[in-house]
């Protein structure tokens, strides 16, 4: 990328148990210039039949992104800051491989555009040292963007975790999920 002022000391911390389903993040996300005014963040009910709990999902920006690996058109790239970018508009052929292969269920296929789009951690903002839109508006602390010291001070009984186990696959990510203190990984059953 051309020029950048990316703050490498700040990270993303997600705590989905804190999500109250207000969807402020969805509206804020649509303000992100890299999405072209489309909202990329996901807020959905976990199991509507038994609970009103919602969950929130941003792109986790994997170290070895499955989405980029399964793309038949080489449309997805990861930059030097670990940001996995949205599909390159001229290359994406709209096959949805990335949508179905992402273990976190992040990429969206915009059917009318025949194009995959995803969260870029508000690269237009983070590349100039600002915070992502969603993290700036979340009222419940489900989404936080700041330094490790800041989150440790705010959540002394939690540990940020960025290792996820999906079956036999271990996925490491740039984005953290807040877990009980001392946790090292999150196993998805």
């Amino acid at each position: 990328m051309n020029y950048t002022n990316f703050n490498i000391h700040e990270e993303f911390f997600v705590d989905m148990q804190r999500c109250i389903g207000c969807k402020a993040c969805e509206l804020a996300c649509a303000e992100c210039e890299t999405n072209g005014q489309e909202s990329m963040i996901h807020v959905n009910y976990v199991d509507r039949a038994s609970t009103v709990q919602t969950t929130v999902q941003v792109c986790m920006h994997c170290d070895d992104p499955v989405c980029a690996n399964v793309c038949p058109a080489d449309a997805i790239s990861k930059d030097e800051f670990g940001i996995v970018h949205t599909a390159n508009t001229e290359r994406c052929i709209g096959c949805s491989n990335c949508v179905m292969a992402c273990p976190f269920g992040v990429p969206k296929k915009e059917e009318s555009y025949d194009l995959m789009m995803k969260c870029t951690m508000c690269y237009d903002r983070t590349s100039v040292g600002k915070k992502p839109m969603c993290a700036t508006v979340c009222p419940s602390g489900a989404l936080f963007y700041g330094t490790k010291d800041q989150i440790q001070e705010m959540r002394p009984n939690s540990t940020p975790v960025n290792t996820f186990v999906f079956g036999q696959e271990i996925v490491n990510t740039k984005v953290n999920i807040m877990m009980p203190k001392g946790s090292t990984e999150l196993i998805i059953f």
Binding site: V66, P72, A73, P180
Partner: protein, 349 residues
């Protein structure tokens, strides 16, 4: 993503097809009889571009996710399934390749500008490549000083009067292409210089240089006409060299840069046929949401492709994480997180 510095299979295929192409130039120009020696630098540029395109295309096809789509396409073709999608494929080709319909919802002006560039570039390719290869040539009709004849591969295809509208439109065809390319490229250049999202993510060599090159080719090309028609040939030689340099840079850039999307785009139709064929074969139902989300064929192929790429989402119970829909995956992650929080004794730490 594992990359080798070079790919022998691709080198071999590209070299063989390039030799075949040179043979076609030799025989298509009737043993160089109709070959225009003034265009020899363009010929080198075009043959190099052709070699590069075939090389990159072959490397690209060898990637597991690309190969599986290609393999399925060939299989449907051999087993005749593609013919049941013939009408669909024709419609898709016209809509998505000729008219780039999918760009329209992204923005009306974006579509118009892209369509102008596409028509301009395609028409320019259709004119210049056969001319460079000596496949098209013009000659005076026998016993006439006002009728021109056009030949393709040495066979006469049409004739026209030199002072006719057809002659005016034909001789200036590249100028019409240039105007279309200039207007379209200027729109995109303006967009790339003012859109904050694009400014944050674009690169000079990947996004701005291609537009600058297109404008440079068109302006220098138009300059040739203006020079000989209105400026008594002023700076014609200089413009001719400048035009050749910009065109050859463009040709060399095709296989490695943004212009490769022209070659890649038909894969979109392949992906659509794959989806349509998959729907006939049955839909996958998410075990979490209970709803259909994609085709069984897609999930089956993705499981194989991810394994080939070194990812294994298989679980101990024989199911796979890939059996879940995107919403199902997000919900299962949240449930696993809740379970971990409950085990930790505190829902919010």
């Amino acid at each position: 993503m594992k990359n080798k510095t070079y790919n022998i299979k691709a080198l071999l295929i590209a070299a063989l097809l390039s030799i075949f192409m040179i043979a076609l130039v030799f025989f298509g120009s009737r043993k160089l009889q109709n070959f225009d020696a003034a265009l020899v630098t363009y010929l080198f540029g075009t043959v190099f571009a052709f070699f590069g395109i075939v090389y990159r295309y072959t490397v690209w096809l060898q990637r597991p996710p690309t190969w599986i789509y290609f393999k399925r396409g060939i299989t449907y073709l051999i087993t005749g399934k593609v013919f049941s999608h013939f009408w669909f494929a024709t419609k898709e080709s016209v809509e998505n390749i000729a008219f780039q319909k999918f760009i329209y919802p992204r923005g009306k002006y974006r579509w118009m500008a892209h369509f102008m560039i596409a028509v301009g570039c395609t028409s320019a390719f259709l004119i210049t490549i056969p001319l460079t290869f000596g496949w098209i040539n013009f000659a005076m009709a026998p016993n006439s000083i006002s009728v021109y004849e056009a030949y393709f591969f040495g066979f006469k295809v049409m004739d026209f009067n030199l002072d006719s509208i057809t002659a005016f439109l034909t001789f200036h065809a590249l100028n019409w292409s240039s105007y279309l390319v200039i207007f379209g490229s200027l729109y995109y250049l303006r967009r790339r210089l003012t859109n904050p999202g694009l400014i944050a993510t674009q690169s000079f060599e990947g996004d701005l240089l291609p537009l600058i090159l297109l404008i440079a080719i068109s302006v220098t090309g138009l300059g040739l006409t203006y020079s000989y028609q209105f400026m008594k040939g002023l700076a014609f030689d200089f413009l001719a060299v400048l035009h050749a340099v910009t065109v050859i840079m463009f040709l060399i850039w095709i296989p490695f840069g943004k212009f490769f999307h022209i070659i890649q785009r038909p894969a979109q139709i392949g992906a659509h046929i794959y989806k349509k064929q998959g729907m006939k074969m049955g839909m996958a139902v998410c075990p979490h949401t209970g709803e259909e989300f994609t085709t069984n064929l897609h999930i089956k192929d993705l499981k194989a492709v991810t394994k080939e790429l070194g990812f294994n989402f298989d679980k101990e119970d024989g199911t796979s994480h890939l059996d879940l829909s995107p919403e199902g995956k997000r919900s299962r992650l949240a449930q696993a997180h809740l379970k971990a929080r409950q085990q930790g004794g505190n829902l919010f730490g």
